[in-house]
Symmetry: C4
Subunit: 206 residues, 4 copies
């Protein structure tokens, strides 16, 4: 039950952060003086395509983080105070994503926006790795969990985190390449990893 | 339990998206210089009637989607990784509805706003149909579920989706007719379909 | 379980609507040119006191509606399609409260804002009464529920609804009196009703 | 189950309030006339560092309040009407935190913003202490709970509340010292209190 409330709170923040991404889109406003023509409005809406890419990217990022959270805590038997603290760090970083997504959508080719985006994703990755490290060290996993499966998860999380950090650094030199890297990392996580699948405890049922 | 967390997350996104629709209404602002008269404010508030129609329409749309989601997953025994992915696609499209609703409320007679609205609803419909198709193909339904009932659902979803896509196309020529079509489709789903009712497994209890 | 998901969705909308009330407060903005003095900021913040009253009022209103919803559905054995529909009507009205609260806070002495507030509360009351009427008519209550208790609830809901509608009408003539009436109605519901308490099935445990 | 819905509603408000903190950050906007340079954007984003500190502070504050709520209600056997009322008072104060955080982030060195922040935190503390006091007085705790543990919690809550109130008063004279005090109080609650740990009923499992 306690783990249940912990998961429900996390789910709430993930679900809410993912829904707030829509605030990155703002309705084109017309001054009081004149009603915009249909062509004006179409032009303004078409300008929002970088916002749409940033939206889809962040939706996938938060969706995957939620799914990883889900997959991880299915295997965890006990949630201690330190896990709660590290989880808050993770949620606090995740909840910043709507802001950096809106910034990325508004200024997609700038060093500033792409770097900021990578910094926040790296913060999420750091929290995730710290939390996983703490869970492993404190033997919080259920006894039935395969040790090789946990090692695989540790490696996958570390690789993901390093790539985010790298993409953030790239943003300082080549913003557009950095943006492409973010998309690549997400695709890496979306495509199921063959080797893990064999070890996944109850892989057929998610 | 896993299905439980999957449903809870989906419910969260549906509930937040439906509540964020209210952001389509903005409090009429007065410049710092002068306090508006009561008549000014009344006039400004009365101007919001297209927003109210768009709000009611989208509230019904999201409410029905939530209800369909609920009805569908009651029959599903297993949630696999692909279902989670297609569900994220659905939620990602749904979470855009507050934005397109606000745009529709602000510019109800434009081609741009009515077309955009239809595109997002069609995206929701597409995700729903893909997800249903995957569930059927992977035999994810509970064994007790009537095959004819599933076929009925498949047909109903496809009809709904085609009508949304059609209404979006109509928006390119006759925006107001398109708006009326959106309302009609919602009414089609609100009125219970006689033929399905007989096949519904536990129809008395929802 | 189905009732569980129905309640979870409703709770989500109530909890979200109550939290969105905070959007009625906007941070006093300073133009880019000059940083406001501390005295400027204090004056701007003090101007928000009507917003604070409107916030507290609406927080109590939504809180009480959630509590009534909770108390009502504890007694309900079955949730059918029509209940879901009437519940969406209730949630759709409730989700408008953040908007009318912000309007009331910004223009507390106008006919327009106090009338609009009353209209939305009356819509909530209407939905509640329709839903309760449907539940009674379709024998949806658990068999163990005392008939006198249900009658007491029906009367209390009807009285509350009539008073909201009355307060809305008063707003057309005397906005400030109408505002005071809204507060009075909330206090009426906050103070536990003696006669009902004796009939409440498990009154000690909520 | 009833306690379950009470906790779920509270969790919802905590989770939403914590996620709404992100609204304290606004995307630097460019006028229509000219696209800002990368350097402009970097400068604007760097100006947001007080917002980041305020964000982290409030995230920790709400996170800890949620954790305390969780820890407290694990020990509570019955939730009565008065507890629900005092809990709404607590949630109503908590839901104001996104607004006062945004104000603090925008004007971190003013008397007005630091005082307002302290007032809202003190309101949260007051509600918490009233609720705890009511729970103790009405013997709502589970019989298995150690009396010394409850006394320890009462003392800890009272100390926290007094310190918040003190920090609010300090804001009237030395805003920056007040800000530092808020951070100190949060750290006081984050660091586990040795003496309580021995008395905590099932300390290993949160």
């Amino acid at each position: 039950m306690n783990k249940g409330r912990f998961e429900a709170f996390s789910d709430g923040v993930f679900a809410f952060a993912i829904t707030l991404l829509v605030l990155g889109f703002t309705v084109p406003m017309h001054g009081d003086a004149k009603w915009p023509t249909d062509a004006d409005l179409t032009r303004e809406l078409l300008k929002l395509w970088p916002n749409l890419i940033a939206y889809a990217l962040s939706f996938a990022v938060i969706g995957l983080m939620w799914q990883n959270h889900h997959a991880l805590f299915r295997l965890v038997a006990r949630v201690d105070r330190k896990t709660v603290f590290l989880n808050l760090l993770l949620l606090g970083s995740t909840a910043l994503i709507p802001f950096v997504t809106a910034t990325l959508g508004a200024y997609p080719t700038t060093h500033a926006a792409t770097f900021l985006y990578g910094v926040v994703l790296s913060m999420c990755g750091t929290s995730y790795n710290l939390m996983l490290w703490h869970l492993v060290r404190s033997h919080a996993f259920d006894e039935s969990v395969n040790a090789r499966y946990i090692r695989g998860t540790v490696v996958a999380f570390r690789v993901g985190w390093l790539t985010y950090a790298l993409a953030a650094l790239v943003a300082l030199f080549l913003p557009v390449v950095s943006f492409a890297l973010y998309i690549t990392i997400v695709l890496y996580f979306v495509v199921p990893r063959g080797v893990d699948k064999d070890l996944e405890p109850s892989r057929g049922e998610m």
